[in-house]
């Protein structure tokens, strides 16, 4: 340094930045560029493909099933990686031994840390949305009926800032090389534990982002198709995520080194508000109940307008009696129609026979523990005009094989026959024989008079059988036909 340059430097007034947030934006840009999360994006993308995408694609293209499956599994995929990376970045200053160096910068430490957290969260959310976009685009291209469900996406996206804040706070408050792995594993464990503790529809643990509806109905095809996807639980989960995020970020601003008094008071206020919001969300989750449409309704948040059924135009088969399904289940129509067609051909046009087989919505009732009763919403047969309401096997929760699907639909075909000819538990011999003849293969014990009459009736030409039924079905249903009177 020369003597000339050692003289007093001219005082240059520091200009205030023209744009108030320009410095913050520049800091954020730097953090986005220097962040570790982009390096984790390929890893989470692979995990998403392996777990979420493949599992979703194994289900039929139904928005409800795929979106709810996505919410549960994507949380599992993203949480440990995001938490670990955020913890690693949270301990960056101490790890790189630049704490003292940064202490003299103009920005308060809290603001500096928030910039790192925001950048980490932005990358995580961007990766999440990218993965979800691929899944949703593929689902839309497969012809899924209706509109995409956005609430599960929102819950997943909102949980990422919370988990990022959790990891970041752990890394910042307890910097060390073991913080990131331990916090990542602990967060994963905590997330999985929530699923273990859910018992019934009043569980507080439903606040977990893993939960996309009644826990034991996860992936059920019957929910959120005939009726709307209720936003009650997602709203509570968003509230919890926002509260947790605020509380954790506020904690970062509490230490004396985080900034000035005003800043620390603000941090304390944010922490308190966050804790209140998270606590309220947990309480609200505990007030949930399984509604008859299979979703968790929360009375305080519930909007009665969401209970209205979604209008739709059914897709129908060209069978003698049309089988009409909800368009979301259109892919099941050929199998359902094929299973019912032999029975429908016999019954078409008979007095009292249904003019249409229409798919019914399922109704749900919470049983002790995590058991859920699933049944038909309304009676099996309605009059004027007679319509039989069919419940597809896939609406009973869980997937089913092709053979089991056909067997269950055929069983309901037997119910239709019994309703038309008056069968059932107290059926007369003639009614049993006619039902046995129409439902092939017959379950009647061989060698009995009823079985012999059934064989005789089944051996008639279809036209003759149909003509006889046209003339006698009313009397048969009333129990006035004896076994001997059968042709």
């Amino acid at each position: 340094m020369t003597a000339a340059s050692a003289g007093p430097a001219p005082i240059v007034p520091v200009r205030a930045p023209r744009v108030p947030f320009a410095a913050a934006g520049r800091l954020l840009r730097l953090e986005l560029r220097r962040n570790a999360m982009p390096w984790m994006v390929p890893l989470v993308a692979v995990l998403f493909w392996l777990i979420t995408y493949r599992l979703s694609m194994a289900h039929p293209p139904l928005w409800n099933v795929r979106a709810m499956t996505m919410q549960t599994t994507a949380s599992t995929v993203f949480v440990p990686i995001v938490v670990g990376t955020a913890a690693w970045l949270g301990s960056r200053e101490r790890r790189s031994a630049i704490t003292d160096l940064l202490a003299v910068t103009a920005r308060p430490p809290w603001a500096r840390k928030l910039a790192t957290w925001v950048a980490t969260t932005c990358w995580a959310v961007a990766a999440y949305l990218g993965c979800v976009a691929v899944l949703y685009v593929v689902t839309a291209r497969q012809g899924a009926w209706g509109a995409p469900l956005w609430w599960p996406v929102a819950v997943g996206a909102a949980s990422l800032p919370a988990f990022s804040a959790l990891g970041f706070a752990a890394g910042a408050l307890r910097p060390g090389r073991f913080t990131a792995p331990l916090v990542a594993v602990a967060a994963f464990l905590a997330l999985e534990l929530t699923a273990q503790f859910i018992h019934g529809d009043h569980s507080y643990w439903q606040v977990s982002p893993l939960v996309a509806g009644p826990w034991e109905l996860a992936g059920d095809q019957g929910v959120a198709t005939f009726y709307r996807y209720l936003p009650d639980l997602p709203i509570v989960q968003l509230m919890f995520a926002a509260g947790l995020t605020a509380a954790l970020l506020g904690v970062l601003g509490l230490p004396a080194s985080a900034g000035g008094r005003w800043l620390r008071r603000s941090a304390a206020t944010i922490t308190a508000a966050g804790l209140v919001a998270a606590g309220a969300a947990i309480w609200l989750a505990g007030t949930g109940r399984l509604d008859t449409h299979g979703m968790i309704a929360i009375p305080v948040l519930h909007n009665a307008a969401d209970d209205r059924p979604i209008p739709y135009t059914p897709v129908c088969s060209a069978t003698p009696i049309p089988v009409c399904l909800h368009p979301a289940y259109g892919s099941y129509l050929p199998a359902a129609a094929a299973a019912l067609e032999p029975v429908l051909a016999e019954l078409a046009g008979l007095p009292g026979a249904p003019v249409r087989i229409s798919q019914a919505a399922a109704t749900y009732r919470q049983e002790p523990g995590n058991d859920v009763y699933i049944g038909r919403d309304g009676p099996a047969m309605t009059e004027t005009p007679p319509v039989y309401h069919l419940l597809l096997p896939v609406q009973y929760a869980g997937s089913t094989t092709t053979g089991a699907f056909a067997a269950e639909v055929r069983r309901q075909g037997g119910d239709i026959v019994n309703l038309v000819i008056g069968g059932g538990r107290s059926a007369t011999g003639a009614q049993q024989a006619v039902a046995g003849a129409l439902l092939k293969p017959s379950a009647l014990p061989p060698g009995t008079p009823v079985a012999a009459a059934a064989q005789r009736f089944a051996a008639l030409p279809p036209a003759a059988r149909h003509t006889w039924l046209m003339e006698h079905v009313v009397a048969l249903r009333a129990g006035r036909i004896t076994l001997a009177e059968l042709p």
Binding site: V77, P80, L182, V185, F188
Partner: protein, 220 residues
Amino acid sequence: MTTGAARELPAGPVPAGGVRTGLRLARLHLVSRRVPAALAAMAACAVALRIALHWQWDAYGALQLPLVFETGCAAAIAVATASPFGEPERATVRWLPLLRLGTALALTAVAVGVLTAAGIGAHLAGGQVDALRNIAGLTGIGLLCAAVLGGALAWTAPTAYLVIAVYALYTQWHGPALTTPWLWPARPPHDTGAALCAGLVFVLGMAAIAVRGARDTAGE
């Protein structure tokens, strides 16, 4: 150092193969790798597992639980490979491969020991054989990751594997089941293929960490 202390030093050169020197070298190596902290982390995992085993778990949860803590231990072992010295240490310490190998092996043995001990008197799903296989395989993954990404980020691979393994366990109840032996936590404890895969990954990880050590990353 005081003058008095200086007087106590041996006058001649310290014998390179001396037991005391070797022990001091090993102690310094362990301290530089934060092995005490790694042991504390593993002890914490064991205590947490012990507490968790007091609850009643369904079959899926019972298998999942030890796996999470085994991953925690494996991640701690992998992270403990990070060296704060980098190239100078590589250039000067002759016994470094042996020290690295010994440290990793000892930590793995401790991890198996503490988690097995945590399961004594409780129902540890899969038993000791399962714990041994899973910890060995997960440690191998962590050590390989340390050799590629560096010690600081070595936890990512065991954690990612944990997510996949938990999913593989899930598929045992909600098919189609993933049955590849490379997902050994989802295989029965006495499955030979799974044990071979875990063992192979463990040996590869040990070899990589002994020969190459954890990758030095800038700024770490």
